[in-house]
């Protein structure tokens, strides 16, 4: 049975319409994984000698144990955002003589093969081997290593439990942040010393190997719970049930002020507000807005004014980048309709442009309090905002004409790579690095003020030639009309 499932997935991957593009992403992810493997391997090798050097009179194993709590928290948070339960199209299988239990076991079993479960091994195994070389008892070290592997698997399955409960909610990342943040806070403020409890636990397992049954029991518990959850979901009606909420339609009359682009503005606003994926790009606004707070309070960055522009472009342009890079794929579901309707492409694009430009303005205004960290920051943000409106909006619209990947709006968002083609990786470069490089060059050659002025001039040029630029962009979209219709028509 497993063999059949595997061959189904093999075909699904290689016969997918966007195979070439997803291969590009896979290669990129491959390099990323190699990087992490190298990091963990290095950590595993250097951990013992390093700790011995810094704390000569303490047992490195005990130190490691006392830090395991933080590893668990970080792992849980990371997995929530990056690891998804393996997807399998089960609908065709439901009516075939395949036991539901088989399907569930297969999906869960496959999740064990996730990269996230193997990554810790690259640190655990070299560290364990070092321990053996330092004459730690063999049996105890092996059990300790096994315990860590079990914990990784527990996190694996625990994560899916959290995901299955939070998937249908808006702000789905709130529960995991509350759990992780709560545990961390309790520990940090010494209310409950989880790191000591955890450390003590692992010490105990090391000393009394029989205690391995505790993580083993937890693992079985998590697995069984997951099994039950998934098995329930294997019925058609539970998949379809997706509670149909009553709609409160708003008429958005105020968009009439925008003239002939009003119908498209209304459509875009509804698009953003009524679909999970787009809605989460609204929440991303908050992240973008607060992004500066990671850097500005630190004195190191106070003396790096060229860095202000990077943050300026990012925090005023986060919506632009997030929303803009998937134009026109947001409308891919009904692109044929738009193309056979009596519309002017230019109005359609202008509506997107207006949305992005307004978002930049709003984000700039909301970011004005950054002036608290110095007037230079405000000036740099202002220059970045003008540059965003004048240059980046046009660049991203132009990039959109190369977009060939459909977006299924009903998919869950955040780190969903669907709709991400090679173009999206490339487009980040001119958007962020170009203004930063430009600014840095003039900053080092002449002065901060001149560098700001240069960015503003570029932005103003873009705004002045807006009509002309839009004509060129519209032409590009018209040229690739048939290719887009064809590409958006394909399901992966």
């Amino acid at each position: 049975m497993i063999k059949r499932f595997l061959s189904l997935e093999w075909k699904a991957f290689f016969r997918s319409a966007s195979f070439g593009k997803s291969l590009g992403i896979k290669i990129f992810m491959g390099f990323l994984s190699l990087y992490f493997i190298a990091m963990f391997l290095g950590m595993g090798l250097l951990l013992f000698p390093g700790l011995k050097k810094v704390y000569p009179d303490q047992d490195p194993l005990l130190i490691v144990n006392s830090f395991l709590f933080y590893w668990i928290l970080a792992d849980l948070a990371l997995r929530f955002f990056f690891q998804k339960l393996p997807v399998m199209s089960v609908k065709p299988l439901l009516t075939l003589p395949v036991k539901r239990g088989h399907v569930v076991n297969y999906v869960l079993g496959k999740s064990v093969l996730s990269f996230f479960n193997f990554l810790p091994l690259f640190a655990i195994i070299p560290f364990g081997i070092t321990l053996l070389f330092k004459n730690y008892p063999l049996a105890n070290v092996l059990v300790w290593m096994l315990a860590l592997v079990l914990v990784a698997l527990i996190i694996n399955f625990f994560n899916f439990i959290i995901e299955s409960f939070s998937a249908e909610k808006e702000l789905s990342f709130l529960p995991v942040i509350l759990i992780v943040g709560g545990l961390y806070a309790l520990n940090h403020f010494n209310i409950i010393a989880f790191n000591e409890i955890m450390g003590g636990g692992f010490n105990a397992i090391y000393n009394y190997p029989i205690l391995i049954i505790v993580p083993l029991g937890l693992l079985v518990l998590c697995y069984v719970f997951n099994f039950k959850l998934l098995k329930q979901k294997l019925f058609l009606d539970s998949g379809l049930k997706a509670k149909i909420k009553e709609v409160n339609a708003s008429n958005l009359e105020w968009t009439k002020n925008f003239g002939d682009i009003a119908p498209f503005m209304q459509l875009d606003l509804k698009l953003i507000w009524r679909n999970k994926r787009t809605k989460s790009s609204v929440w991303m606004l908050a992240i973008g807005l607060l992004y500066g707070l990671f850097f500005y309070p630190q004195p190191t960055y106070q003396n790096m004014p060229w860095f202000f522009v990077f943050i300026g472009v990012f925090s005023t342009g986060i919506f632009l980048i997030n929303f803009g890079q998937f134009i026109p794929a947001w409308d891919s579901g009904y692109y044929k309709l738009l193309m056979s309707q009596n519309i002017k492409y230019e109005q359609y694009l202008k509506s997107k442009f207006t949305l992005m430009a307004v978002s930049v303005l709003i984000l700039f205004v909301l970011g004005i309090p950054y002036v608290f960290f110095g007037w230079k920051i405000l000036l740099a943000h202002f220059a970045a905002a003008i540059y965003n409106i004048g240059v980046n909006t046009h660049v991203i619209l132009l990039g959109g004409s190369f977009n060939r990947k459909k977006i299924d709006l009903s998919q869950k968002a955040a780190f969903n790579y669907q709709g991400t083609g090679a173009v999206q990786w490339l487009i980040g470069i001119p958007l962020l690095l170009l203004p930063m490089g430009l600014f840095a060059a003039f900053y080092f050659l002449i002065s901060f003020e001149i560098a700001c002025l240069i960015l503003i001039i570029f932005g103003v040029i873009g705004i002045v030639f807006h009509q002309k630029l839009m004509k060129i962009i519209t032409q590009k979209y018209l040229e690739s009309k048939y290719k887009m219709i064809d590409a958006f028509d394909q399901n992966n």
Partner: protein, 231 residues
């Protein structure tokens, strides 16, 4: 009204449509039948300029569709669910289409109210998004949206599929009423020979991309079609 000339479409060397000449006069209700892969949807997609012809052209009211967009104001279509915008309610969808076709809300309301029967109380005022409606109800909304803005050419691909019997009969009446208006050209495709002979004045049979029969409706049409497809 619609002139097809030397039209062909090839997909990687495979000829899927090859129509030397086909003339559809203004006001005709025109039915296209054929087995799967006969080229019905390909023809409609070419008519709506959603794909490019390999050779030849279609002229809609003397506008060559792949050269100019001037055919759009008087042409409307419902091909499949990808013509619906899932996150709008049916009303919002009608208003949106209305705005694109230069109709205000009152115009749209007036038109839509004529189809209360057809909707059977399951479309209007339901406070549901189109994506949450059943396939049949989605289709009803799409068909009615294609009638907004007094189009002169209406293209419906498989309008009867997925509809319940009552709705099929109501839809037939709607199409008949449309074709009674002298200036409205209706193009429909169907697998249901009975429905299509019932509502169309003229029926064209496509086979492997070619026109093999072109019949003006008479009492014997249905029988002739059935015999054709039985072989």
């Amino acid at each position: 009204m619609i002139t097809t000339s030397n039209l062909s479409k090839k997909y990687s060397g495979n000829l899927v449509l090859d129509i030397e000449s086909l003339e559809i006069p203004k006001g005709q209700s025109f039915g296209l039948v054929g087995n799967n892969g006969a080229g019905k949807t390909t023809y409609f997609s070419l008519l709506l300029d959603l794909i490019q012809p390999t050779t030849g052209y279609i002229k809609n009211n003397d506008v060559q569709v792949n050269k100019s967009e001037d055919w759009k104001p008087f042409t409307s279509a419902f091909i499949d669910e990808s013509f619906l915008i899932g996150y709008l309610t049916p009303e919002e969808y009608f208003y949106f289409i209305g705005e694109l076709r230069g109709q205000n809300k009152a115009d749209v309301d007036a038109l839509v109210s004529q189809f209360e029967d057809f909707f059977h109380g399951e479309i209007i005022g339901q406070k549901k998004y189109l994506r949450d409606l059943s396939k049949g109800n989605q289709k009803k909304a799409g068909i009615v949206a294609a009638l907004i803005g007094n189009p002169e050419v209406i293209v419906l691909d498989e309008p009867f599929a997925n509809l319940d019997p009552t709705t099929q009969i109501r839809l037939k009446n709607i199409i008949k009423e449309l074709s009674e208006k002298q200036d409205v050209t209706v193009l429909i495709s169907s697998h249901d020979l009975m429905h299509v002979t019932d509502v169309c004045e003229r029926i064209v049979v496509l086979e492997k991309g070619e026109v093999v029969k072109d019949l003006a409706k008479s009492a014997a049409t249905l029988q002739e079609l059935e015999e054709h497809f039985a072989n």
